[in-house]
């Protein structure tokens, strides 16, 4: 009896641990500009030619490869790098406004759609060190099943 309980308990913990870790484990390696999670894939078009005083929109696409619908609940973005050391990745040089898409937003099973945009703009008083600079923006989306 004691051995049976121990075995059952160990199996239960193992299954729970596997399922819990599988939730956040990326299923694929970094591909292109996207890094898919196990449950949905975000991607964004890059933009160029930004200059002071202008706003351009980063179009965000979400793909739900699973067989069940999910609800996107949050989209966040942050500057993680710039190509010029003297042009810092701060809001002084590039501002990212609030996501324009609707949240929460349903994404049906096996669907891919544009879910909204992230407006990015360069302030008029951006640093003079920022022309011909590439800012890398990380976009993080959260969803629920």
């Amino acid at each position: 009896m004691g051995r049976w309980w121990t075995t059952a308990a160990a199996l239960t913990v193992l299954v729970g641990a596997v399922l819990t870790s599988a939730r956040d484990t990326p299923a694929e390696a970094l591909t292109g500009n996207t890094r898919p999670s196990y449950d949905f894939v975000l991607s964004a078009e890059s933009i160029s030619g930004l200059y002071p005083g202008v706003t351009k929109n980063l179009r965000i696409t979400a793909q739900n490869p699973t067989g069940s619908r999910i609800v996107l609940t949050q989209i966040r973005a942050e500057i993680i790098a710039t190509s010029r050391r003297r042009c810092s990745g701060t809001s002084d040089n590039l501002t990212i406004s609030r996501f324009t898409g609707r949240l929460p937003q349903l994404l049906d099973a096996h669907r891919t759609k544009t879910i909204g945009t992230l407006p990015v703009s360069m302030p008029l008083d951006a640093s003079g060190n920022c022309p011909a600079t590439t800012f890398t923006i990380k976009i993080t989306g959260t969803a629920q099943r």
Binding site: W5, V13, G16, T34, D39, I60, A62, A132, T134, R145
Partner: protein, 159 residues
Amino acid sequence: MRKITKRAGAIITVAVVGVGALGATAWANGWFVSTATANVSTAQVGTVTGTVSFSEPLYPSAAVDVKLTLANPNKYKIRITEITLTGNPSTACTAANSHIYFDNPNVVLAAEMTPKVYTATGAAHMSTDASDACAGLTVADVAVTLTGAPTADAASAYV
């Protein structure tokens, strides 16, 4: 070795099963995260080019009009905020002893603009303590540097 009683074993098993079940429930109903990266590239800056001339020769105590012929290759408007002498007008007449200075022309250049002429009235000055070596300067001797910044303001009227 101490033996686990049936009762203790049952409690442990229920607890462990509960933890496992919570993990499974979290996976089934929980949140998950995906990330992407995107690049945003900024435009090159084009140099504002042009020529400068004066309405009459500079002389001590003068305040003469500055005629600016300027082009802006950039996709954004630029406000010219400063004109400064570049280098020395001649060997003897230097930037330091010529005492030539300029008012802020406050000119806004339209985006992607072909050469246009602007006049900054009375904007070029020569102080009364200018060196005698600066007498007879011609406009060709005077090179200037314009300083400006992007702006959203309306473009200035040109001639």
